[in-house]
Symmetry: C2
């Protein structure tokens, strides 16, 4: 059996992670991580001399943030815009703030809509329960 579990060299020594470990931690596939990088969502991932990616703590933080945006329904195009502004530095802080606020409000609306629809589903469920009652 080959010893391949992530051990000292990969995880502890230099605090930087190989793509497989990042995949495991984020739940993204290695393919998706590379895809995001190519799409400009992530940049400046350090490489070894041989060209192998090594993710640093900062990369992980940014990824976690991207995942929040994604999981709240932001499109890749919008995340690209945000990432682009981030690259532009401090000058874009106001823009980014506006984008985030707009997105948060959009998510709020979505939550409200889901709650409303779920209440209607509850009614439907109650109706089905009555049907079942009557059947017995």
């Amino acid at each position: 059996m080959t010893m391949t579990s992530p051990s000292a060299s990969a995880l502890v020594e230099d605090e930087t992670l190989p793509i497989a470990e990042v995949a495991r931690r984020t739940g993204l596939s290695a393919d998706t991580l590379r895809y995001y990088e190519k799409a400009g969502l992530i940049d400046s991932v350090r490489r070894t001399a041989g060209g192998v990616r090594r993710y640093a703590a900062g990369d992980m933080d940014w990824l976690a943030f991207l995942l929040r945006l994604r999981d709240t329904g932001m499109s890749i195009a919008d995340m690209q815009r945000f990432a682009e502004q981030r690259r532009e530095g401090d000058a874009s802080v106001a823009e980014r703030l506006a984008l985030l606020r707009e997105h948060r409000d959009c998510v709020d609306r979505r939550i409200r809509s889901l709650r409303e629809n779920n209440r209607a589903l509850d009614n439907k469920i109650a109706h089905y329960e009555e049907l079942l009652e009557g059947e017995r």
Copy 2:
């Protein structure tokens, strides 16, 4: 000018609606309505002698329900299962109830997740606001 606004014949006389009007009311496109029907999500839409669809009140109710399922994130495949069971009649009530409950719980989890993520976004926003404050 051709008089094409939905008038007596289309909307009032027989309480059944042409596809364009259904599209207008549901927000779906006529293409999507036909696609849903072909996919087995909707059936028994009455036709004129010439083969033109006329949606009845019952069709509209079912469509509204489908839209709730869709808007809460149910896949077309799952809606197909539900529609299939509905076709099977009363025997499938228990199954349908189970499906609906599961879906509602799934939506609840989604809502909770969104709220959690949105709280994190709020923190990020607050952080950006501080940044902007400090800049001035």
